[in-house]
Amino acid sequence: MMISLYSAATGMSAQQLKLDTIANNLANVDTTGYKRMRVEFQDLLYQYAKNPGTPTAALSSTPTGLYVGHGVKTAATTRIFTLGNFEQTGNALDLAIAGDGFFQIQLQDGRIAYTRDGSFKVDSEGRIVTANGLPLIPNIEIPENAVSISVSPDGVVSVELQDGSVQELGTITLVRFVNPAGLKAIGDNLYVATPSSGEPIEGTPGQDGFGSIKQGFLEKSNVDVVREMVDMITAQRAYEFNSKVIQTADDMLRTISNLKR
């Protein structure tokens, strides 16, 4: 049977995955701290009927050979960690990282997760927690008699108490990774480290390449809607091209079977 049927089918499933990725990017266009995904494709193995360099005569050889390709495969879906836009919210516990770095979050099972979503809240015990109630690391407890909370660009959290005195509570530290694209997303804007991301490197905001903390801001998603729409158009058309190839190959096979009457 014709190889083109299978090559075109690989093309269609690749474009389908691309569309799935675009759909997820667009669905998260307004998710705080979301980083867009990108699909990477590669061509499949080639079947060589004649290898390059096959002798054709005593002193000559074919320069290029004769081969046919087998379509495309998805090599990877990578997350692109470029900065998103900052939105001013004025909320004291909305923190954005202006540059490299992740907040550390304590998961219920004891593991540590990492996030760039800095929309923190205070829970009933006074701890700084994510929107899902998971506590920030290092643990910072806001006293009951605090009037206002301020977070400096280098991560120092301090509160003004009812009597007008200022109390320093601690410093929010950030971590970074050699290869942030190797982090594994576990949903809820959280990532966990993997062997490919490398070990987390802890540091102070605003130093050693870490971004500084901007209080009262949130980092929006870095999804560019125009780019996603253009990608969606190309994915749809590429899907159509491949389906036309399947139709053509099918038509040719029917013609062959009709040769014998």
Binding site: M2, I3, S4, L5, S7, A8, T10, G11, A14, Q15, K18, R38, E40, F41, Q42, D43, L44, L45, Y46, K50, P52, P63, T64, G65, L66, Y67, V68, G69, H70, G71, V72, A75, A76, T78, I80, T82, D100, V178, N179, A181, G182, P195, S196, S197, G198, G209, T234, R237, A238, F241, N242, K244, V245, T248, A249, D251, M252, T255, I256, L259
Partner: protein
């Protein structure tokens, strides 16, 4: 005359090879660094045709050449078409695109391959790698580390945030590039390329021209049907030959 049937059938086989090639090109219409294929065909057999003319005055028959007749067609070779693909801006600092001649050198499983796919990543050791773990090499054949403030200029020089020279990305011209897979090429006699620009934060898209591929698909499809008609016509002539001409009445 069964020769015509085989000629037509070989024409149909060629169209199937064309559709197979177009299918692979179109499947890779969105593959970064992919280069489309071109196919070259040649006549299977070329034979001189003569007219025989009686020359009674010379008491012999003379052969007067009419011209060559080409029988059938076969696929001779397939080679990658290395024309430049469109550059797409990704803004990812470790994505690189070559505008011009040459290939990146990539070390994968101990072998050096060449590629135009600049969709690189950074691995856990901090090296710039392809998405299947092949290391990008500099002009001395060494692996390249990614760091903060990594800047690549148009000539492929890697500089740090202060503008200090770190290394230079190796861009090579190769002879007889042939496709391996994973957008990798193998080739002979690598030599440093001269005519190129390196663009950081860009990737080179596939150079498959979808319009051209679709036109070629239509052409191959219709040519296939024409060849099929020729085959059937020959078949009918044979049918007449067998059932009408040779009928004894």
């Amino acid at each position: 005359m069964t020769r015509g049937i085989y000629n037509a059938a070989m024409g149909m086989l060629i169209d199937m090879a064309k559709v197979d090639r177009i299918a692979n090109d179109l499947a890779n219409v969105d593959t970064v660094g992919y280069k489309r294929d071109t196919q070259a065909f040649r006549a299977y057999l070329r034979r001189e045709i003569y007219r025989l003319e009686a020359r009674p005055e010379k008491k012999r028959v003379e052969r007067i050449p009419i011209g060559p007749l080409e029988y059938a067609v076969v696929l001779d070779e397939v080679r990658p078409d290395l024309t430049q693909g469109v550059l797409e801006e990704t803004k990812v600092p470790y994505h690189l695109a070559i505008d011009g001649e040459g290939f990146f050198a990539v070390e994968f499983n101990g072998t050096v391959y060449y590629t135009r796919n600049g969709e690189f990543e950074v691995n856990e050791e901090g090296y710039i790698v392809t998405n299947y773990g092949g290391y990008l090499l500099d002009e001395n054949g060494e692996r390249i580390s990614f760091f903060d403030g990594f800047v690549v200029d148009l000539h492929g020089f890697v500089r740090d945030a202060q503008g200090n020279f770190v290394t230079r990305i190796g861009i090579y011209s190769i002879e007889n590039p042939s496709k391996f897979a994973n957008t990798l090429f193998t080739g002979e006699n690598p030599s440093p390329s001269q005519n190129f620009r390196i663009l950081q934060g860009y990737v080179e898209k596939s150079n498959v021209d979808a319009l051209k591929a679709m036109v070629e698909l239509i052409a191959a499809h219709r040519h296939f049907e024409i060849a099929q008609k020729a085959l059937l016509t020959h078949d009918e002539v044979n049918n007449k030959l067998i059932n009408s001409l040779a009928t004894l009445k």
